[in-house]
């Protein structure tokens, strides 16, 4: 059978996970959910076989909008600090769950960058949050989780937002 999965023995196969986050609550919820329900168990049963890569995609600043060099530096510095803060928070969450983690920043369109990172880094599982948008909003605002679930070359786990408290 082409592309058959090798039936392993007693040990689990190593899992390279990519978690896509931004600074939204939904993506941290997705990370938290994945850590608690999927990844922590794997790290308990099989030490060292799961590697979590936390990827944050940032929009590149439009350089042409800022005539003065000083302004460009400040704005991108703020962006860097925000990104670093988000990533370190996510990294701590992984470390608390005893998982090996690393962080990367990708610049550009989230959909493309995430799918490309999956290919380049040999990812086995992509984890994305979902904003829980309805049909219409999804058509207008676009959905990264939708795009990734169709175009990423690996299995995709879409984590739903927690049910809204009424």
């Amino acid at each position: 059978m082409e592309g058959g999965v090798s039936s392993g023995g007693a040990t689990a196969a190593p899992l390279n996970v990519l978690v896509a986050i931004d600074d939204s609550d939904e993506s941290f919820h997705a990370l938290r959910w994945a850590l608690d329900n999927i990844l922590k168990q794997k790290s308990e049963t099989d030490q060292n076989s799961t590697v979590v890569t936390i990827a944050q995609v940032v929009e590149p600043l439009p350089r042409y909008a800022f005539p003065g060099g000083y302004v460009v530096e400040t704005a991108s510095k703020v962006q860097e600090e925000n990104a670093a803060r988000v990533l370190s928070r996510a990294f701590e969450m992984c470390r608390d769950s005893s998982l090996k983690a690393k962080t990367i920043i990708l610049e550009g369109d989230p959909k493309d960058k995430i799918c490309r990172a999956v290919e380049e880094m040999n990812i086995n599982l992509l984890i994305v949050g979902s904003r829980g948008l309805g049909q219409i909003k999804r058509a207008f605002l676009g959905s990264v989780s939708d795009y990734c679930s169709h175009h990423a070359k690996c299995p995709v786990l879409v984590v739903k937002p927690p049910p809204k408290k009424t």
Partner: protein, 157 residues
């Protein structure tokens, strides 16, 4: 303590069985320590969704189609049970439910209070998906739990 439930949707396609094998490889080996309880759900479509025409001869055709569908469902379940046994998974639930796969899978998630629903994906492009419908798409948006969509990697040319 109850183990969280992982529901795996299964039909007779290779994509589905690949998704099942992938799930076993990453979440159920070693089987004794698996953190999840496995529920395998096969949806048996109703003959009316398969037979496209109405008329006097439709009744006969429906009987044959129904018998065929039952055989396919039974074969899928049997193969699933064999795979579970070969991987030493003893407490898996395998069941076949009548109805449209989209609803059957989402209902199974509610019935078993699943944490994760795993579905395979045919990897249809946008047009095929619009015309044929996509179970994985529907479930990703409507299931009341997180959804894992497992695709077979495409062969490099």
């Amino acid at each position: 303590m109850e183990k969280p439930v992982m529901v795996v949707g299964l039909d007779e396609s290779e994509h589905s069985f690949y998704a099942l094998e992938w799930t076993f490889q990453h979440f159920f080996s070693p089987p004794e320590n698996s953190p999840f309880k496995l529920v395998i759900v096969n949806a048996k479509p109703s003959p009316s969704s398969v037979v496209g025409f109405a008329g006097p001869s439709a009744a006969e055709v429906v009987t044959y189609v129904d018998r065929d569908l039952k055989m396919i469902a039974a074969r899928v379940l049997e193969k699933a049970k064999e795979i579970c046994t070969s991987k030493s998974i003893k407490d898996a639930i395998c069941e076949s439910v009548d109805g449209d796969p989209r609803n059957v899978l989402c209902d199974a998630v509610d019935k078993y209070h699943a944490s994760v629903l795993v579905v395979g994906s045919h990897g249809y492009g946008a047009i095929k998906r619009a015309v044929l419908g996509s179970v994985s798409d529907y479930c990703a948006h409507h299931a009341h739990c997180s959804v894992m969509i497992v695709k077979r990697p495409k062969m490099k040319h």
